[in-house]
């Protein structure tokens, strides 16, 4: 307990030795980290279990840091699942969704010493695949992240809505949380875990949208200063252990040339 308290005090009062990390998600849960200004962030995910089943479930997202205050990204992912025979033995299938998000926030210690990074984000979809051609998923969240020594903690709340055809979930609030730990013996390796909620679209005898929790755990290896590779396992509510997904995620960041000198002069 004393050690935890000491860690908390050191984390809150100690100087921040380096800039915020940049990964915008632990695995499913968003973080409050923003990319640097004028930086492009690319993320690619491959689901190894699907690959073993000769299917391709992938995520490809490209983001951009806007002035150090915000980030916008666009891409496609397969986080949301849907089923057409929900009572059967076939697990829900992933739905390819075009998605975009906008995140506006403040970095650690921006307003006062010890302040966590805070982000208000909105994510929405535009286009979908498979039987859920008109699937729509939107999420607004507030999340705070803070480095406490070797640990990074993330916590927040998300407002989720989803629908397809004429069926909608309605706004539902759910918590989200994440934890990262970088052991001092392995400074390039981080153990991570998170939990968040995702919609599941059910087009069966009765069409409906349900929320299911998604819990992930895994390891990040910071191979280069601006590139990392992660291996993770994700479990979903109502899924057996054998249906868990194993994914590999790669993230790279490129800081573009600094902007030419231009000053917004206000009187």
């Amino acid at each position: 307990m004393r050690r935890a308290l000491s860690l908390l005090v050191i984390g809150l009062l100690g100087p921040v030795a380096h800039a915020d990390p940049t990964a915008d998600r632990v695995f499913t849960a968003p973080t409050a980290w923003l990319p640097p200004s004028n930086a492009v962030v690319g993320t690619g995910v491959v689901d190894l279990r699907a690959l073993a089943d000769k299917r391709l479930e992938s995520t490809l997202i490209v983001g951009y840091g806007l002035g150090g205050l915000a980030a916008v990204d666009v891409g496609t992912d397969t986080d949301v699942r849907g089923c057409t025979d929900c009572a059967g033995t076939v697990p829900p299938a992933p739905i390819y969704l075009g998605r975009a998000s906008f995140r506006l926030g403040a970095r650690q210690d921006a307003w006062f010493r010890g302040m966590p990074a805070v982000v208000f984000g909105v994510q929405t979809t535009f286009g979908s695949s498979g039987p859920f051609r008109d699937a729509r998923v939107s999420e607004a969240y507030v999340v705070a992240s803070r480095e406490l020594g070797p640990v990074r903690m993330h916590g927040g709340v998300a407002l989720i809505d989803a629908g397809f055809a004429d069926v909608t979930l309605g706004r539902k609030a759910r918590p989200l949380a994440g934890l990262e730990w970088t052991p001092s013996q392995y400074p390039k390796t981080t153990l991570m875990g998170d939990v968040a909620w995702m919609p599941r679209l059910e087009s069966d005898a009765t069409d409906r949208v349900a929320l299911e929790w998604v819990a992930g755990w895994g390891v990040r290896y910071q191979a280069f200063a601006r590139a990392a590779i992660e291996l993770a396992v994700r479990h979903r509510q109502d899924e057996g252990l054998g249906d868990s997904t194993v994914m590999v995620r790669m993230t790279g960041m490129w800081e573009l040339e600094p902007a030419p000198r231009a000053v917004i002069r206000l009187r």
């Binding site: 200004s37 666009v74 231009a262």
Partner: protein, 338 residues
């Protein structure tokens, strides 16, 4: 033999002519009029008997006939350009004279819009735009409204820049925007908007915009489903207050190149088979985002727009991205003609 003689003669003559020409890199001495133009030299030679004036140029050698270019005038520093729109609502700031402005926007709802303007004499502004903000639905039972796009509008704004009349005076503009008639799904629609807005900087890092809009719109088509066409207008309703809406925005500049923007505006929504009086409605639009000045001539903006914030429908939220270019090229061209 005759051909060889002709060729030889041609080569010799050409060579002689070429030798008679000055070398291309030797400057030609200036014509001072004393030798080659006797008529002009006669004036000085006759009458007074004074010696002929020496040539103006140095006789020791040829000189450069070209005068050195005058030093360039120091150019005035360009004033800052304050944007004529927050995100969707107009500001009380006008583009400087002859400054060109172009904005292109896309969003996750499939909307594409563009806006091109030019500043007129520091007191007005003219623009042509396509907007994706106008929406339609067939009946009240429609869960979702869809867009009518492209919807082409022309705008004219005039006003007084900030602190022009007195130090604390906000920038003020009176603007008029009108659409071309749009045929969509066999319904003809038009919109028009008159705005008056004031904008004021609050210190160095914030600015506020407050204004009011007077809206009008018309919808023509088979509104009753009886096969006869008729027209309804916003101004034809019972309450004139239905046409008046306040709008406003806020800008915060926490970092030198980046601004946080929030605004609340209004956009018409047409409902073809709704009850009388509900066929044209004004819906509140909330937007927030960030503007990042990548270069002096280029700004990137991104954010979130909720088309009908009164419904607070999260599924309707749109992520947008837009790029704005501004150019002083026309201004420089105009200045060079003065």
């Amino acid at each position: 033999m005759k051909q060889v003689t002709v060729i030889l003669a041609t080569v010799l003559v050409t060579g002689a002519i070429a030798r008679a020409q000055p070398l291309p890199d030797v400057p030609i001495p200036p014509d001072n009029g004393s030798a080659s133009n006797p008529g002009s030299a006669g004036g000085s030679d006759t009458g007074s008997g004074e010696a002929a004036k020496p040539p103006l140029q140095d006789v020791t050698g040829p000189s450069d006939p070209y005068q050195p270019a005058p030093p360039p005038k120091p150019s005035k520093p360009l004033p800052p350009i304050y944007m004529p729109e927050v995100l969707t609502t107009p500001t009380g700031w006008l583009l400087p004279a002859a400054v060109l402005y172009s904005k292109t926007s896309i969003d996750t709802g499939g909307g594409v819009s563009s806006d091109t303007r030019v500043g007129l004499g520091d007191v007005a502004e003219f623009g042509l735009a396509t907007t994706d903000a106008i929406r339609e639905r067939d009946a009240e039972t429609d869960a979702r409204a869809s867009r009518i796009q492209p919807y082409v509008t022309a705008s004219f704004r005039l006003g007084v820049s900030e602190a022009r009349l007195f130090p604390e005076q906000p920038g003020m503009t009176l603007g008029f925007r009108k659409s071309f008639e749009r045929n969509h799904n066999e319904f003809k629609t038009r919109i028009a908007e008159l705005t008056l807005v004031a904008s004021k900087h609050l210190g160095q890092h914030a600015a506020i915009h407050v204004g009011g809009a007077f809206w009008d719109a018309s919808l023509e088509g088979d509104l009753d489903g009886a096969g006869t066409r008729r027209e309804v207008t916003l101004h034809g309703g019972d309450k004139k207050s239905n046409q008046v809406r306040p709008f406003g925005g806020l800008e915060v500049t926490p970092l030198p190149h980046a601004q946080i923007l929030i605004d609340l505006g209004w956009a018409p929504e047409f409902c073809y088979h709704c009850a009388e009086g509900d066929q044209i409605q004004l819906k509140p639009v909330l937007s927030w985002g960030v503007r990042y000045e990548v270069a002096r001539w280029m700004r990137l903006e991104s954010g979130v727009r909720v088309p009908d914030i009164a419904e607070a429908n999260l599924l309707d939220a749109q992520i947008f991205g837009q790029v704005t270019f501004t150019s002083w090229a026309l201004r420089r061209a105009v200045d060079s003609l003065k």
